[in-house]
Amino acid sequence: MESVVFIFSLIDCCALIFLSVYFIITLSDLECDYINARSCCSKLNKWVVPEVIGHAIVTVLMLISLHWFIFLLNLPVATWNIYRYIMVPSGNMGVFDPTEIHNRGQLKSHMKEAMIKLGFHLLCFFMYLYSMILALIND
């Protein structure tokens, strides 16, 4: 049972890592002028909700299987994701808005956020890997 939980979280974490990398690549394309703001923002906005759901599933799974430490570790990032999604002003076209992205250093802050998430997911990946191996050994 334990190992199934951790295998599933591992796969989910992998997907989240790939998503973070995709965000970073798209944002740096925008910085270097390879794509325009509108297509960049529509690409990224498509993946905001899947990311929120993916991370929420892992958090809830950890809660259900009573792994408190990992749950508490994931909770701040999950709440930040949900908060960011809810607090989009009504006139904006999603979390990434093409008219605002070049203003007030938003591009840089989005990039920083994606980098931090990448680092966090990598850390979580190794944690799940270790826990999964431990669970498989103990079975």
Partner: protein, 677 residues
């Protein structure tokens, strides 16, 4: 009371003037002279406040860009970001690149000399190395001077590239070759989208619009390819077939507003000269066509979608006339204002748009080189906060006439007529892009104005007009230690109404300083106030109005406190300001009383939002007039400083200080706020 103040100079003035006798302070520039704000009473300007002149040598000063086109908040640029942070003043540029100029050197050379790495246009502030090479003043790269550039067509001499007009003027216009065009230059295309619901007919704006158009049809900027079209809408959308061969204009009604389509593929936008008679017939008939209408709904969204479809092949300008809240179809809006909250001192809500429909539409239009201008002539709440988005991101402009009615409110009607005349006949540029370049070490991080930021320093403007102003904020990324001058260049590439591709280039040069006192000596208080107004509007929309008001007050407090801590020989109990910033608290106070930022007084939400839009899109000279109007006394006209207009002698009333103590019961006064008198 007044006489007591004037006779009492105050100890501190004495000590500061005594302090001025010392050797150190004798080199102090006039702009750094300390002014005691709590004691001095006569600091209000009597003549128009001039822009500060940068501290450059006289040759560079003569060549520098006019402050009416290009102005910086600090005319002495701090050397490092740390120094800028200590000064607590914002660093930014205020631009008015397309303003009407009386003298503009136009260069028709076949080669436009630009730096190879940063693509800066050659300007008066480059340095020529041995007559064959030039060093770019923005990226410091050494470039070759092309052969054709060595010949000066004006003086017919060879071998003096620094005498050429591009290098002798900081504001030039180049005629661009086909390398600068993505497609052949577009013709001038004008589309008028008119609201004809019952409300609109009641207000009676149609007669004014049609009359104005009839008078100015020949004066619309353009050439023989100019095209024009009309769309009217209420709960359905009506198109007008103005094909050349027809005997009278034909109206085509599309009532399926959920899936709007164009009834005929062409002849809705027709050539102005070929179909002129038909257009005149239409304009004469239009006001009377809808007099008995019973339609109260307004399908603005579908009409705009149809207009976009019509304009996408060519691009051009859409002028939208709206008199109420759009209530039907896509983009419908609800009334969000609570009349009881108008004088609320706490939270002012609904300053941002309610839906992203108009923003998406504006971005689509901007992509097809179409600008949408909005004329809002409503008497009730029309959610300008959402409607304004259609102009903000497509480089359009917004005009607002609250409580408009052609017979009950003749003042607004006259204002509308005059504005419309200027709007129809002023210069226009199509499919424009603007790029602002700065010397290595400075970078631009925030933009203010009506345009779409396509990439980090490229602004996409579907239309440019001479009444639009822009502002940008900068930061100092790397220290400017190894240079004594920084330059800024604005390049505006546009298609003129005659179908010529042109580039208007402005270049500004400013010195770099390393001491805090010099930074204050070069502060341009009017530019600082305008930039702070722009920043405050952004802050009101993103966080809250009270935050913005606090930030404005903090800006004054912090900068004057920082000044007082540097000028160590002044007593701490007085409020001292450098002469360059003596009007700073006054202007900020005036700004806080503007409709955009005031609290405690009943302000309609649309009025407030419109005032905010004006702050972000007007050039500095108009904005300062709005904040600090000119006061004239007109009953005692004097003979000196008269001007001659049309063979008549017009006496110029003297400018008074803007203060209530100057108003007397026996005099007649005139206050000029720019948009009203």
């Amino acid at each position: 009371m007044i006489h007591i103040w004037k006779q009492y100079p105050g100890v501190n003035q004495l000590s500061s003037s005594l302090g001025g006798l010392s050797l150190q302070h004798s080199q102090q520039p006039e702009s750094l002279r300390p002014v005691n704000l709590t004691q001095d009473r006569n600091i209000l300007p009597v003549s128009s406040v001039p822009a500060p002149v940068p501290n450059l040598n006289s040759d560079l000063r003569k060549l520098n860009c006019s402050p009416d086109s290009f102005r910086c908040t600090l005319t002495n640029i701090p050397q490092t970001q740390a120094l800028l942070n200590k000064a607590k003043l914002p660093l930014g540029l205020l631009l008015h690149p397309f303003r009407d100029l009386t003298q503009l050197p136009v260069i028709t050379s076949s080669t436009i000399v630009r730096c190879r790495s940063c693509r800066t246009y050659i300007n008066p502030f480059v340095s020529f190395i041995d007559q064959r090479r030039w060093k770019c003043n923005l990226c410091y790269r050494v470039n070759d001077v092309p052969e054709e550039f060595m010949y000066n067509p004006l003086t017919r001499s060879y071998g003096e590239p620094h005498k050429r007009p591009e290098v002798q003027n900081s504001t030039v216009e180049f005629i661009a070759s086909s390398d600068y065009m993505l497609r052949p230059p577009q013709p001038a295309v004008y589309l008028f989208v008119l609201d004809v619901s019952h409300n609109a007919v009641e207000a009676g704006y149609l007669t004014i619009v049609c009359q104005s158009l009839l008078e100015n049809l020949d004066k619309l900027p353009g050439d023989s390819r100019t095209r024009i079209g009309f769309i009217t809408f209420d709960s359905t959308v009506q198109f007008y077939n103005l094909q050349e061969g027809l005997s009278q204009p034909q109206m085509l009604i599309v009532s399926d507003i959920d899936d709007i389509f164009l009834p005929t593929p062409d002849s809705l936008l027709v050539n102005l000269h070929e179909s002129k008679e038909l257009i005149k017939d239409l304009l004469n008939a239009l006001p009377n066509m809808f007099t008995n209408t019973r339609e109260t709904h307004s399908a603005l969204g579908p009409a705009l979608q149809a207009a976009f479809k019509l304009m996408s092949p060519t691009g051009g300008r859409i002028s939208v006339f709206q008199t109420q809240l759009p209530s039907l179809g896509a983009g419908l809006l609800h009334s969000r204002e609570d009349p009881n909250q108008r004088s609320s001192t706490k939270v002012v809500q609904h300053l941002g748009p309610a839906t992203d429909f108009y923003k998406k539409l504006a971005l689509d239009c901007s992509g097809q080189q179409t600008a949408v201008d909005l004329f809002l002539l409503s008497s009730q709440y029309s959610d300008l906060a959402s409607l304004a988005c259609m102009s903000k991101y497509s480089a359009g402009c917004i005009y607002y006439y609250p409580s408009f009615h052609c017979s009950h409110n003749p003042a607004q009607a006259e204002k509308f007529q005059k504005d419309l005349k200027r709007y129809l006949t002023r210069k226009i540029g199509f499919e424009a892009v603007m790029r602002i370049r700065c010397t290595k070490g400075l970078s631009i991080h925030t933009f203010h104005g009506n345009f779409f930021v396509r990439s980090t320093d490229l602004l996409s403007l579907a239309n440019v007009n001479p009444d639009a102003g822009f502002a940008v904020q900068m930061s100092i990324e790397e220290s400017l230690t190894d240079t004594s001058l920084v330059c800024f260049q604005t390049a505006l590439l546009y298609t003129s109404s005659k179908g010529e591709r042109r580039i208007r280039v402005h270049t500004l040069c400013l010195p770099v300083v390393s001491s805090l006192a010099d930074v204050y000596a070069g502060a341009d208080v009017q530019a600082v106030v305008c930039l702070l107004a722009n920043m405050a509007v952004d802050r009101s929309v993103s966080s809250s109005l009270s935050d913005a008001r606090d930030a404005l007050v903090n800006a004054v407090v912090d900068s004057l406190a920082a000044y007082m801590s540097t000028a160590s020989n002044l007593q701490q109990s007085m409020l001292m300001a450098p002469n360059s910033l003596k009007l700073f608290p006054l202007y900020i106070l005036a700004l806080l009383k503007q409709k955009a930022f005031r609290t405690g007084m009943s302000t309609r939400l649309d009025d407030r939002v419109y005032a905010m839009c004006q702050m972000k899109s007007q050039p500095l000279v108009h904005l300062m007039k709005m904040i600090h109007p000119n006061l004239y006394r007109i009953d005692k006209l004097i003979d000196e400083s008269t001007i001659h207009v049309n063979d008549r002698v017009v006496p110029q009333p003297p400018l008074q200080k803007l203060s209530a103590e100057k108003l007397t019961r026996e005099g007649a006064f005139l206050m000029d706020c720019g948009s009203s008198l």
